[in-house]
Subunit: 339 residues, 2 copies
C-alpha cells in the first residue's frame, strides 16, 4: 500500500523538484550543479546518476495528508517539493556545522567544493524551498491558503534553526535536561515533519490542520528518539553505523542524557565518557552504566508515548478512518524500522 503510493507519486515529486532547482541562468551552472549533486541527481562531475536518494519521507507524508482529508495529492506537489528541499538545505548546512565528510555514502557537498560555496549553495536551496512553495499558485490553491502555507513554512524554518542552535550549544555543555533535549528535537526534527503533514492537510482543504500537525510533530519526536536508540543499540549490520558510534561521539541523545542525569551512575558515566582517551574498550562499561540507569527502557517508553500521542492526534484529525489511513500505516511502518 505504501509502496504503491510512493511508486505513484515519487516520479511527479522528482519532476517538481527538478523544475524548481533547474536554474535558468547560463552563468551559474556550477551553482545549480552543486545542488543537483546534493539531491543525488548527478555525480561530482555533474554526470547523471541513479542513486538511492533520501527516503523522501516528508514529502510523502505531505501528499498522504492531502489525500487523507479528501484532496488531490497533485495539488500538494509544490508543498511536498518545498518540505523536501528545505530538509535538504538543512542537511547541507548541518554537514558543514558538524564537519561530516560523508552522507548517503558520498562525500558531502562542502568536502567536494569547500565551505564557502557550500554555505552559499545551501542558502540557494533555502530560497528555492520558498520558490517551490509559491508554485501552489499553479495548482489552483486559493490565495488565503497560499499565505497560510507560507506562514507555516516560515515558522518551521525558524524552528529548524532554533533546534540546530540548541543541538550545537548542548555539545558545549556538561549537563542537559530531558526537557531541554525535547525542546531541541522539537525544532530539529518534529517541526518539519509536523509542517509536512499540516501543509498537505491545508492544501487538501482542511483549514483546521492543527491535529494533523500534532500527529506529525509527535511522530517526529518518536522518530528521533528511535534514532537515538538505534544509534546505541541498533545492529551495525543493519544501521550501517559502527557499534557504539553515538557513545564514542558523546552524542547527547535521550538515553545518554537520562543516564548522565541519573543520581547513582551519572557521575561514573560522565567520568568515563569525558576521560582523555575514550575508546572501543570503554563501550561495555558505558553500556553497563546505561543499563543500570534504565536508559534503554526509559527512552523506549518515551518513544512509545509520543507514538501513541501521534495516533491519538490522527484520530482527532481523521476520526474513525484514521487506523485505515496511509498516514497511520506509514507511522506504524516507521516505528518498526531497524535502521
Amino acid at each position: 500500500m505504501l509502496d504503491n503510493f510512493a511508486a505513484r507519486w515519487l516520479p511527479a515529486l522528482e519532476t517538481e523538484m527538478r523544475a524548481v532547482l533547474a536554474g535558468d541562468d547560463r552563468a551559474t551552472p556550477l551553482h545549480y550543479g552543486m545542488i543537483h549533486y546534493h539531491m543525488g541527481w548527478v555525480d561530482s562531475h555533474f554526470q547523471p546518476v541513479t542513486l538511492l536518494a533520501g527516503k523522501r519521507l516528508r514529502p510523502l507524508l505531505c501528499l498522504m495528508a492531502c489525500q487523507a482529508v479528501g484532496g488531490d495529492p497533485a495539488q500538494a506537489l509544490p508543498a511536498a517539493a518545498a518540505v523536501e528541499i528545505l530538509h535538504n538545505f538543512s542537511l547541507v548546512h548541518d554537514d558543514i556545522e558538524d564537519g561530516d565528510l560523508t552522507r548517503r555514502h558520498r562525500p558531502t557537498l562542502w568536502s567536494v567544493w569547500g565551505v564557502p560555496q557550500a554555505i552559499n549553495a545551501g542558502d540557494a536551496m533555502f530560497a528555492l524551498a520558498f520558490a517551490a512553495l509559491q508554485r501552489l499558485s499553479r495548482t489552483q490553491v486559493a490565495a488565503a491558503q497560499q499565505l497560510a502555507a507560507l506562514q507555516l513554512f516560515t515558522d518551521t524554518a525558524v524552528a529548524l534553526t532554533e533546534g540546530q542552535h540548541l543541538d550545537m550549544h548542548f555539545e558545549q555543555r556538561r549537563q542537559v535536561s530531558v526537557a531541554e533535549y525535547l525542546r531541541m528535537i522539537e525544532g530539529k526534527t518534529a517541526a518539519l515533519i509536523g509542517a509536512s503533514v499540516a501543509l498537505g492537510g491545508l492544501v487538501g482543504g482542511d483549514s483546521m490542520y492543527a491535529p494533523l500537525r500534532r500527529f506529525g510533530q509527535s511522530l517526529g519526536l518518536a522518530f528521533q528518539i528511535q534514532d537515538d536508540l538505534l544509534g546505541i543499540w541498533g545492529d551495525p549490520a543493519v544501521t550501517g553505523k559502527a557499534a557504539g558510534n553515538d557513545i564514542l561521539r558523546r552524542k547527547k541523545s535521550l538515553p545518554l542524557l537520562h543516564a548522565l542525569n541519573d543520581p547513582l551512575c551519572g557521575e561514573a558515566l560522565h567520568a568515563l565518557l569525558w576521560s582523555d582517551r575514550l575508546t572501543d574498550a570503554d563501550l561495555p562499561e558505558a553500556l553497563r552504566l546505561l543499563e543500570q540507569a534504565g536508559a534503554r527502557t526509559y527512552a523506549t517508553d518515551q518513544m512509545r508515548r509520543f507514538y501513541t500521542a501521534s495516533q491519538q492526534a490522527l484520530q482527532e484529525a481523521l476520526g474513525a478512518e484514521a487506523p485505515a489511513s496511509l498516514l497511520w500505516a506509514t507511522a506504524n511502518w516507521l516505528m518498526q524500522r531497524q535502521s
Copy 2:
C-alpha cells in the same frame, strides 16, 4: 530633506525589526543574542549598545518608493524590515565565506561565536526576513499584493546567492569578462536594491512596479561600480580603507577587469598582481597600468551610464515629478559619496 525622512522613519523601522528578531523562546537567548549583536543592538556580552548601524539604505528606499507612488510608508514597514534583515543575513554569511574578521569596526559574528553557530544564525535571519515580510498582513495589504511581494522577495534571495556564487567563483579564475562581472553585481548588489524599491511601490499601490525596480537595479549597479572606484582611488582618510587595498587583495572589480582584459597592458598587470610577492611597493606600477588601460575613465563612464539609466527609469515610473522626489535626491546623494 533626506535627513528629515530618515529621522521620521528610522525609529519605526528599528522597532519593526526588533519585533521580528525578538525571539519568543526562553530556550534560545544566545541564538537571538548573536542576531542582535550583528544588527548592532548589543555587544558581545549582549549588553545594549548604541552603535552606528548600517546605512539602512535599502529600507529607506523602500519606504520612499511607497510614499512616491502615493502610499503610506507605515504600510511598507514590514517590507522595509524584510529587505534590511535579508541584507544583513547575506552579510553574516559573506563574512564567513570571505574570512573577514571585522565589520563596522567590530569582530564579525563568526569570529566571536565560531563558524557553525554563525552559519546557523544567518539561516535564522534568512527565515526571519520572510517572517518580516509576512507582517504585511498586519498593515492591511491585500492578499494578492502580499503574494506578489513574497514572489519578488524569493526571486531576489535566489539572485543574491547566484551573485555571491559568481563572486567566489571568479576569484578562482584568471580572466573574467565585463559581461560576467555585470551579471555578478546584478545578483550581489542590484537585485536587492531593485527589490527594495519595487516592494515599496507594490505596497504603495503601484501594481506596475517594473520601472521602479529598474530604477533600483540601475542605481545598484552604479553604486557597486562607484564602490569599486573608491576601493582603488578613494581617499583612505575618507573611506577608512587602506590605499590600494582592493588591488592588493586582487579583487576582481570593474576597473581591474577592464585593465586585465586590455590587449596592451593586461598581461603586464596580470604578471604583476599574481607574482609571488605583491606588496605596497607594487602599487604605483599597478596604478600606472590601470591608467594606461583607461580603467578609471572606463569605470566612471559605466557608473554614469547606469546612473543615467536609473534616472530615466524613475521618470518612467513617476513622470514629471521624478526630479523633485526623494528617490531622485537619494540617488543623487549616493553618487556624490566619497566613502
